[in-house]
């Protein structure tokens, strides 16, 4: 179905698109009545929460949704081809679509780790598009592929061609994906959350790249994301989706300035914004008895955790003889303290050692040296068995609430497990306890006999929190506890955690790669780079007056959810990940800190 058009007509015009899943009699509508236009050279962002139909829309445009079991119920997807003829993709034949896919329209997917075929060489994966659509010879294609890798500024492009995906880091893979999509200079690029899985610094690089490429080739972009910051950075126009419907569409500037729909406003409000200020620390009120005991022990009243010179390394063995070939210096000479009722945020890029610090403190991994004083008692010399009773006071919440709940246990069992381990309860007490815990995290008591898969992501994280609370711990290590959640849910969970802290005086070691979340949650913050704390201090001090280069770099890379503050960036930020893997004979230097303010330390550079 082709029609003639002219330059005034949009490049892509989606009209009344409806897509559904499931059997015919009980369809699940994923996208309903969606319409939008996209003109050449424009960037359109589609935003919305998880499950709002963003990906389905994207896949529908390429007509790949049927493969996933979806159905195009109605609607038109008019696309203007190179020769200005317009085709309705919704009614095109498979052969026709194959000519368009990868050629006129290409797509980047969310997961750089799984979107590339693991058993084919990078070169091959790029070349096949060229060979297929442009009828290049293999050697021509290879040359072209090399240029493409060069264009996405991948180092050593010649060598990359013969590498396999697993040999590259996430950022590099995503660049390969981009190179692949650019191969045939498409008129439309659809990017479905291309940076969500990446670190902020890497994300910044990728965004720059897309923008730059778009400017140089005039490609129109549909950019799907749930990160309003990214939207503010990159989009010309925004479509806001919710439950499969378009709630609002506007120019980016307009949308941020004057959101019309309530939902948009909510969405914007929920976005944690860097620079909105950290919570104020208030030492928890404590019972008189406790007070007395503390005095007796003669310690600084509020310090529950003191970590001194913590070092954790992972040996890398090779071969049959299990020879030690290298070490991962995951945590290197780290010291900090944590007071009751205080939150210490740990922030840093992926691999910087955040999780390992958390796990080391709980002795879930065995640290190499250092001291971990919990309420004055050194945990370091404790054996696994002797550590177990201590765990009553030291609990943990993990990033992925689904994976960290045993799918075969009921909520009642899950929530009370830590308690059961440390105390003897009869079935009745246990149930009461479970109901009470669920109430604290605001889950209905009726959910007590259900199983994890019957809950939403936010609810599951509440279960995890309830579980951590059950043994009335004094410290909770929250490792990316809110990272997997949608912004609105994230906000709720953060509020809940803060509330619980106020009530019980729990100290959090709060780990996140999202600086905005850290700011919202933490009284103090430590910035990690390659296993070392490069800067530590009160949250506002560190984030507003960063002293260490790395902290500045990190803060710079954070997208700001305000299109008016869109910055000109030095192009192509660092993308290759730094590695903490060191040879066996590597001798790390001790961390030396300069004091740059009250309680504000910076690693000597």
């Amino acid at each position: 179905m082709t029609m003639t058009g002219n330059a005034r007509t949009p490049l892509l015009s989606v009209e009344n698109l409806s897509v559904s899943f499931g059997p015919g009699h009980t369809p699940l509508a994923a996208v309903q009545d969606l319409s939008f236009d996209l003109f050449a050279g424009e960037t359109l962002a589609i935003v919305g929460e998880s499950g709002s139909g963003k990906s389905v829309t994207a896949l529908s445009i390429l007509r790949l949704i049927e493969r996933e079991g979806g159905r195009l119920d109605k609607g038109r997807i008019a696309f203007r081809l190179d020769d200005d003829s317009v085709v309705d993709l919704a009614a095109s034949s498979e052969a026709q679509l194959q000519r368009i896919r990868g050629n006129s329209i290409s797509m980047i997917f969310q997961e750089p780790m799984t979107s590339l075929n693991p058993v084919l060489r990078i070169g091959d994966q790029i070349c096949e598009t060229l060979i297929h659509h442009k009828q290049l010879s293999p050697s021509q294609a290879l040359r072209e592929a090399r240029d493409l890798l060069d264009r996405v500024r991948l180092s050593d492009p010649g060598r990359r061609l013969s590498q396999y995906p697993h040999e590259l880091s996430g950022g590099m893979r995503q660049r390969v994906m981009i190179a692949m999509t650019l191969a045939c200079s498409p008129r439309l690029l659809i990017a479905d959350e291309p940076t969500t899985a990446l670190d902020v610094t890497i994300q910044a690089g990728i965004l720059d790249l897309i923008r730059e490429l778009q400017q140089s080739s005039g490609t129109a972009v549909v950019f799907i994301t749930h990160d309003m910051g990214v939207v503010a950075e990159i989009a010309d126009r925004v479509v806001v989706m919710r439950q499969g419907r378009m709630i609002e569409t506007a120019d980016t500037g307009m949308l941020f300035r004057q959101p019309r729909a309530d939902y948009t406003r909510q969405l914007l409000n929920a976005v944690p914004k860097l620079g909105s200020g950290a919570p104020v620390y208030a030492a928890p009120r404590s019972t008189a008895g406790e007070e007395a005991r503390r005095r007796e022990e003669g310690r600084a009243a509020e310090t529950v955790l003191e970590v001194n010179n913590l070092v954790t390394r992972f040996p890398i063995h090779k071969g049959m003889l299990k020879r030690l070939v290298a070490r991962v210096h995951a945590v290197e000479d780290v010291s900090f303290t944590l007071r009751a009722g205080e939150t210490l945020g740990l922030v840093g890029e992926s691999g910087s050692g955040k999780s390992t610090i958390g796990r080391s403190v709980l002795k879930l991994v065995e640290p190499e040296s250092g001291r971990i004083l919990f309420a004055g008692k050194d945990l370091m010399p404790l054996s696994r068995r002797h550590m177990r009773p201590m765990r009553r006071d030291l609990q943990m919440i993990f990033q992925d609430p689904y994976a960290s709940l045993n799918p075969r246990m009921s909520v009642a069992e899950l929530v009370t497990e830590p308690l059961i381990i440390h105390t003897a309860l009869n079935a009745r007490e246990r149930r009461d306890m479970a109901v009470e815990l669920l109430a604290r995290v605001r889950l209905p008591a009726a959910s007590i006999d259900r199983f994890p898969h019957q809950f939403s992501g936010g609810q599951r994280q509440r279960i995890c929190i309830a579980r951590a609370l059950s043994s009335k711990p004094r410290i909770i290590v929250a490792d990316e506890a809110v990272s997997a959640l949608d912004v609105s849910v994230q906000a709720e969970v953060i509020d809940l955690m803060q509330e619980l802290q106020r009530e019980d005086g729990i100290a959090y070691l709060f780990i996140s790669h999202d600086i905005a979340v850290i700011e919202k949650m933490s009284h103090r913050v430590a910035v990690l780079d390659q296993g070392r704390i490069v800067e530590i201090g009160a949250t506002d001090d560190v984030l507003q007056r960063p002293r260490h280069d790395y902290t500045r770099q990190l803060l710079d890379a954070v997208p700001v959810a305000d299109p008016s503050r869109r910055r000109e960036r030095a192009s192509a930020a660092q993308i290759e990940r730094k590695t903490p893997i060191r040879p066996v004979d590597y001798r790390p230097v001790a961390s030396e800190y300069l004091s740059v303010g009250a309680d504000h330390l910076v690693l000597a550079q």
């Binding site: 709980l362 879930l364 177990r388 765990r391 009553r392 609990q395 045993n406 009726a446 007590i448």
Partner: protein, 310 residues
């Protein structure tokens, strides 16, 4: 108990669950499950139920004693063919025994042998796999070495030697069939456990202070149950086939006890002259393996979440 929300038994108040009540609600549950099945599955379930029923009721529904011979009416064809003998619906075998009765008893025997064998295999393999996966290190190396050995030694020889040393009793046969496939369980379960070990919820419970025993039995075991069950069904039919192969080689149960396999194994000499001796038990074997395989396949599809959603 919680408010009444839907019609499942679980959500009903404790007090209303009298035995009679349960009995009344039973068919409803069954009907609900039933209506959720497609026709091949229904067929399979009906066939399976029939097989189990026939096996259990063998003493009641067999027209003859399975071992009662009638030497002068050997090899009589089934009813409907020339020369058939009244009463012997499936004809008689090489000693004039009633083929139908022997099939029914043979079915009983085969099912119980296969069931016990599969259970033994599951217990041995499952335990060793669990041990290897959970304990790692030496234990793992040892179990994997045993697996290597099991794979490298022709199983028929193991069976032969076992029968030679311990005689061809039912117990021996069951154990032999049981160890035939332990290594498959061990490998699968070990793999599952290794995967599970990396699951965050295991670390979560360790962080909560759970002891290794608790982790093994409260967290790992329940999660390997489903792959175990799938393996079990797949193995069950393999054992039925293996038993018949052993019978073919003369390593089955000692006569006159019939298993379906031994009936086929012995009856093979009569495939020219009295094919019904082989046909009836062979069809039953086919049926059993078919039913069990279908069930196993379905179970696997059910348990693989990704497949289920597609």
């Amino acid at each position: 108990m919680a408010k009444m929300s839907d019609t499942t038994i679980d959500s009903l108040p404790e007090t209303s669950r009298s035995p009679l009540f349960a009995r009344l609600r039973w068919p409803a549950t069954v009907r609900r499950v039933w209506s959720g099945l497609d026709w091949p599955m229904r067929l399979v379930l009906v066939l399976g139920a029939l097989l189990v029923f026939a096996a259990l009721a063998a003493p009641l529904i067999s027209p003859f004693e399975p071992n009662a011979q009638s030497l002068l009416s050997r090899l009589k064809p089934p009813v409907g063919f020339a020369g058939a003998k009244v009463g012997h619906i499936f004809g008689t075998d090489e000693l004039g025994r009633d083929v139908l009765s022997r099939c029914l008893y043979g079915l009983q025997m085969t099912l119980s042998i296969a069931l016990s064998g599969a259970i033994i295999g599951m217990l041995i393999g499952g335990t060793l796999g669990l041990l290897a996966g959970a304990a790692g290190g030496r234990a793992d190396a040892l179990v994997m070495a045993l697996v290597d050995i099991q794979i490298a030694v022709p199983f028929t020889l193991v069976a032969l030697l076992a029968v030679a040393v311990f005689g061809s009793d039912m117990q021996v046969l069951i154990v032999v069939l049981g160890i035939a496939y332990w290594e498959q369980y061990a490998r699968i379960i070990r793999g599952e456990v290794l995967k599970l070990r990396e699951m965050p919820f295991i670390e979560a419970s360790r962080a909560a202070g759970a002891s290794p025993l608790r982790i093994a039995f409260r967290h790992i075991v329940p999660n390997v149950v489903s792959p175990l069950v799938v393996m079990f069904t797949l193995n069950f039919s393999n054992i039925v086939l293996l038993e018949s192969s052993l019978s073919f080689l003369g390593l089955g149960l000692r006569p006159p006890t019939a298993t379906l396999g031994s009936m086929v194994g012995i009856g093979r000499d009569y495939m020219h002259t009295a094919p019904w001796i082989v046909a009836a038990p062979a069809l039953l074997i086919l049926l059993i393996t078919f039913v069990v395989q279908m069930l196993g396949d379905r179970l696997r599809d059910r348990m693989d979440v990704r497949l289920r959603d597609r």
